[in-house]
């Protein structure tokens, strides 16, 4: 493991993000180990995307501190080492899959040969090899999502943030995605994923449940199920969401 200020991939201390008077992230303390596959869960609007954007230095925190790979967020040495897959597709529709991937490869300073070999592997993984030269505007929603995923991983990042990467992806591919994420974990990469699918949450080494900008539960899927005394992760999740009175019936 590479040496940082400490061993953590992600650490936040009292992180706060407000939009005007509205608090989207409320005093968040996150600790994510390197090599971990971390699932960030929570109902719509609980602050998952906002948290990721603050971590990727796309939004300035209102309060608190955040560190990635031992460096304070904002440090220029972080960006080349992380990958970010936004919740929206965020691709150039006029460009082919290949052009999109090459652009991001170039942006990360990769050579042509490096891009070519990484692209080959990624396209096989997302099963888009034969669509390589098709403009993204001609692809289906799920295919765009797969392209977006490939773009965020072209530079083989140590730390990967993926905001709902499997939305609209068919079950077969979702399964292969997760196999791939697990391979990444084995290679030592840290993967932070948001999802609304409980079967996916099950495959995470650790999950954190957010509600109204706060982390209300954290642990392995088993820990979460046990701590709530529920039979399944699904029930546990609903139980947690209910407890605060936010989703009261």
């Amino acid at each position: 493991m590479s040496q940082g200020e400490n061993g953590l991939a992600v650490e936040t201390r009292g992180l706060v993000k407000k939009y005007g008077a509205f608090t989207a992230v409320d005093n968040l303390d996150l600790k994510i180990e390197r090599g971990e596959t971390y699932g960030l869960l929570g109902p719509n609007g609980s602050g998952k995307t906002t948290t990721i954007k603050v971590l990727c230095d796309l939004l300035k925190p209102t309060g608190g501190e955040a560190f990635l790979l031992g460096k304070k967020v904002g440090d220029n040495s972080i960006a080349p080492r992380i990958g970010y897959m936004p919740q929206e597709t965020a691709l150039y529709l006029d460009l082919s899959i290949n052009d999109n991937i090459c652009l991001f490869g170039e942006v990360y300073g990769m050579s042509r040969a490096e891009i070519a070999s990484a692209e080959k592997e990624l396209l096989e993984f997302v099963d888009l090899t034969k669509w390589r030269n098709t403009p993204v505007s001609n692809l289906s929603g799920g295919m765009r999502h797969r392209t977006s995923l490939a773009c965020s991983m072209i530079h083989n990042p140590e730390l990967l943030f993926m905001d709902e990467p499997t939305v609209g992806v068919d079950p077969e591919l979702r399964a292969s995605f997760w196999e791939y994420f697990e391979t990444l974990g084995k290679r030592g990469a840290t993967v932070v994923i948001t999802t609304h699918y409980m079967d996916e949450a099950h495959r995470c080494g650790k999950i954190g449940v957010m509600r109204q900008g706060k982390l209300i539960a954290e642990g392995s899927p088993q820990d979460i199920i046990q701590s709530t005394g529920c039979g399944s992760l699904e029930d546990a999740f609903l139980e947690l969401a209910r407890k605060g009175g936010h989703h009261a019936d």
């Binding site: 300035k60 960006a79 080349p80 936004p86 965020a90 150039y92 006029d94 942006v107």
Partner: protein, 362 residues
């Protein structure tokens, strides 16, 4: 700052054009159409103006004056009744009636000869063309008769010998077209970058804000140069405009103006959330530029209380410099001031546009 990363942005803009016929059409057709239409519309002087002559005098003198009226400018008809002739003007079938009274030639001796001009002066350009033609015909008649005006003006132009109105406004149209199109293209492209989320993706990468801006500057700067080339070709080949000065210098002006425009486009994109909103900015760019930049009306014709606004907008300097190079044949030594001002605008806008990328972080 890594030029390679900036060039990656430039490359993707050009690659995108391969699949975007609409934008390519806008890039090529807009300047071609603008120059052609303006050229055709403004190259002609006022011609074929319908006028009616009522000659009650019927003398040699009145005939000579009538014969000296420029037939290219005027379409002359003759009538006997002044009333009927004026009725034609009232009905909009003619622009003016020239009436030579019965005693016209007799009154010459007492210097009381009068030609009555009953005109429709609702169109200033037509009215002034009629008055000028009549005056020229009289001067010519006088000269033919051996008479001389006691004073004459001998003209030998310092600049713009043989220059017509089209020579005056072509440099203006060039500067205007480049300014408008570059701003518009950048604005649309950058709004797309913001709304699709690709900008965010770039910002999460090692890409610096300045590199993104530079990538855009290079791409749309090159596009602006291509457009300027098209405009110059049409102006020189199609409308016989001669470029008195160094065309290369004209190119430098265009490049600076494009630099200003790209950054203005990026700046405006920060205020627009959607493409539709971006389009709403158009009148805000077009109108002041059209009215205040000295394209059709000299800045001197703008009321003095508003003239500061002319000097506050960049295209004014582009138009002025362009005109100096193309019509006056001036060189760097004479137009450096305009270039410096444009460069200053470009730098300020560039700093602001980079800053505008950092904002929005909230």
């Amino acid at each position: 700052m890594r030029i390679k990363r900036a060039l990656a942005i430039t490359k993707r803009i050009f690659r995108g054009l391969r699949h975007d016929r609409r934008t390519v059409a806008l890039i090529i057709l807009a300047p071609v159409l603008a120059m052609t239409l303006f050229g055709i519309a403004f190259s002609g002087e006022v011609e074929d103006v319908d006028v009616i002559v009522v000659d009650h005098d019927g003398s040699d003198l009145s005939n000579t004056i009538i014969g000296n009226l420029d037939e290219q400018t005027l379409n002359i008809r003759f009538m006997d009744s002044e009333q009927e002739a004026v009725k034609k003007v009232e009905d909009g079938n003619a622009w003016a009636v020239f009436v030579f009274p019965e005693d016209f030639s007799q009154n010459i001796a007492t210097k009381n000869a009068v030609i009555h001009l009953r005109g429709d002066k609702s169109n200033v350009n037509v009215a002034s063309a009629i008055a000028t033609t009549l005056r020229e015909a009289m001067t010519e008649t006088l000269t033919q008769a051996g008479g001389e005006m006691p004073v004459s003006v001998s003209e030998s132009p310092v600049y713009g010998e043989d220059a017509e109105f089209i020579d005056f406004f072509v440099p203006g149209i060039m500067a205007f077209a480049i300014f408008l199109l570059t701003t518009l293209l950048t604005l649309l492209a950058f709004v797309g970058e913001r709304t699709s989320g690709t900008l965010e993706r770039l910002k999460a990468s090692p890409m610096r804000d300045g590199e993104i801006v530079l990538g855009y500057v290079i791409a749309f700067g090159v596009i602006g140069m291509v457009q300027a080339f098209l405009l110059l070709i049409i102006a020189t080949v199609g409308f016989n405009i001669t470029i008195e000065g160094n065309p290369f210098l004209a190119y430098i002006i265009v490049a600076l103006l494009a630099l200003v425009s790209v950054n203005l486009g990026i700046l405006l994109s920060a205020a627009a959330k959607r493409e539709a909103q971006a389009v709403q900015f158009l009148p805000m760019i077009i109108l002041p530029t059209f009215l205040l930049a000295g394209i059709f009306w000299p800045v001197e014709a703008i009321p003095s209380f508003l003239r500061w606004a002319s000097f506050a907008i960049p295209p004014t300097y582009g138009v002025e410099a362009m005109r100096s190079v193309m019509v006056r044949g001036w060189g760097l030594g004479e137009i450096w001031m305009e270039l410096v001002v444009l460069l200053a605008f470009a730098l300020v806008f560039m700093i602001l546009s980079v800053k505008s990328l950092q904002r929005g972080k909230g």
